[in-house]
Amino acid sequence: MEYLLTEEQQMIRDSARQIAEEKVIPVRAELDEKEEFPHEIMKNLAQVDLFRIFIPEAYDGLGTGSLELALAIEELSRACLGVATSYSANALGAYPIILNGSEEQKQKYLPSIASGTLTAFGLTEANAGSDAAGIQTTAVKDGNDYILNGTKQWITNAGEAEVYTVIAVTDRSKGARGASALIVEKGTPGFSFGKKEAKLGIRASSTRGLIFEDCRIPKENLIGREGLGFIIAMRTLDNARTGVAAQGVGVAQGAFDEALKYSRQREQFGSPISSFQAIQHMLADMATHIEAARALTYAACRQLDQGGKNVAKEAAMAKLFATDVAMKVAVDAVQILGGYGYMREYPVEKMMRDAKILQIYEGTNQIQRNVIAQALIKEAAAKR
């Protein structure tokens, strides 16, 4: 389908595709098997300026929008979701600074992120998943510092990133309005990491806890002002949601490509299995769903890029639909490859393991439905 991409958008997509094909595909099985963080690929991505695309021009970035980021993420996800997640997490970690950071914070951190410094976003805790308002980590003001205590869980890029944007409670009495966003640098005394989690999929990505034990950070590291933490977190997730949708489109496309290729080579009963209607109908459904997911994702991105303030619903729809499509298509790809698909020799079993996280992270698909429904009801109420 023709999406009328600009020359610059095509350039970004092609750069990401080149890295996916030349640098990711040859090592993805090994990264998955060894649960190894893709350091070299992150360097490659930074070198071709793909870290610049989500950083504003004023801070040494290219200042492109969410569609450009989605195009890059989609291409990487097509090859390996573990790599794509490690890359996307940098945008997630940078958003709080981009959206609400002070001029000094932007000057200090964004140019270095643009050239490849890894970042991470720390929100989730053991008892604060879908209910992000339930976070326990505290940041207590002490003179010119904040003292952080608590533990963040399942943080992508933890241990690998240099800069962390963390949500902590500064005033428990105010509930959700008592949370704040803070910047913590790796190496700050009192800041350490939990064990590396063993996961079903996206095993190339690093998932660890952030442990704060009387970790003292200067008050200049507060993003925005006290109490804005929850709003910053939600705005960050609104921006990141289309990225996860793009991951879904990418994984689905990658799995579909493998299934189509295999179905044309594999012969049973004297014919390629692609000549059987049972397979044809599966392929047709897969391709149709992928195209619908892509169209919805790009449309949500474009709305976001046109400065639409209220795109939570559209972004949630894209995330929900594209990631459900990714799961379904990956399962069907394994089915088309049959016994071979179940074996690690072929890439689709990994894609199927990888795809599952998409329905869970950055807001489960149940939460996305809540977001969509709340927006629908609000819109209906506003019309009265």
Partner: protein
């Protein structure tokens, strides 16, 4: 330091087809790329900019569509690009090519010239050394490592079959490079955007001080009589049975009977 990198646009295809009438490669409709060895030369030149103050010029001779390869070179980090293009240059063999290139290089000015060791379609490895001779400068072929580079001299490793030679030379000098030298970088987005806007300088026969009988087809002493694929006759193949020892014994007997050993 003025660094010139000579590159060539070659077919990006393993199935190269030949025009039976002219005995030349069919280039139309075949995807193209920068000759892979030249990518290593480009990388070396661009990496030099991080060490010494250098201006990198990518140079190629070819049809107007070779401009796309020069834009790729700029995307990688070359500062400027020059395309030598003129119908009068068409049909050049290695001698006429190196003559034309060396004349252009003289016009441009240089301290260091970098070339890939050979192209992947002609495979002659002649143009680099021939240019050095025509420019009357030393050359170091098959460079696998540049150990030292200053404004006045260079120390480089020349790859040999049984190791390498360490060669020191004053500048100006011409190097031809091998794959072992480096890993070519991917073009950055900023580079690609710059390449899109870059003005490619064009040189025609009128811009160069040249002898007309030394360029193009006229200036090419190489005459290709015939180009053909080597035939593989499988009729005299023999398979040996038995234990490995017996197979080796039988192979040896057969080779001896053919006077191969």
């Amino acid at each position: 330091m003025k660094v010139i990198v000579c590159i060539k646009q070659v077919p990006d295809s393993s199935e190269v087809k030949i025009n039976k009438e002219t005995n030349t490669l069919i280039r139309e409709g075949v995807p193209t790329m920068i000759n892979p060895f030249d990518m290593h030369a480009l990388e070396a030149a661009i990496a030099m900019k991080e060490q010494v103050k250098a201006k990198v010029t990518a140079l190629t001779m070819g049809p107007p569509q070779a401009e796309s390869s020069l834009r790729e070179a700029i995307a990688m980090g070359a500062d400027e690009a020059v395309l030598i293009t003129d119908r009068a240059f068409a049909g050049a063999d290695t001698l006429a090519t190196s003559y034309t290139l060396s004349k252009a290089i003289q016009t441009l000015g240089f301290d260091l010239i970098l070339c890939g060791k050979q192209t992947i379609e002609g495979d002659t490895a002649q143009v680099g050394p021939e240019m050095a001779e025509m420019l009357n400068i030393p050359h170091i072929p098959y460079v696998r490592k540049i150990e030292e580079l200053t404004d006045s001299h260079i120390k480089a490793h020349r790859l040999m079959e049984d190791g390498y030679d360490c060669i020191e030379s004053p500048l100006p000098v011409l190097l031809t490079v091998v794959r072992e030298l480096n890993q070519p970088r991917l073009p950055s987005l900023r580079g690609k955007m710059a390449a899109k806007k870059a003005v490619i300088k064009k040189l025609t026969s009128a811009d160069l001080v040249i002898e007309p009988n030394r360029i193009g087809l006229v200036g090419s002493p190489t005459k290709v009589r015939n180009i053909f694929y080597p035939s593989h006759d499988k009729s005299d193949r023999q398979m040996f049975d038995g234990t490995p020892e017996e197979q080796v014994e039988n192979l040896l007997v057969a080779l001896k009977s053919m006077r191969c050993v």
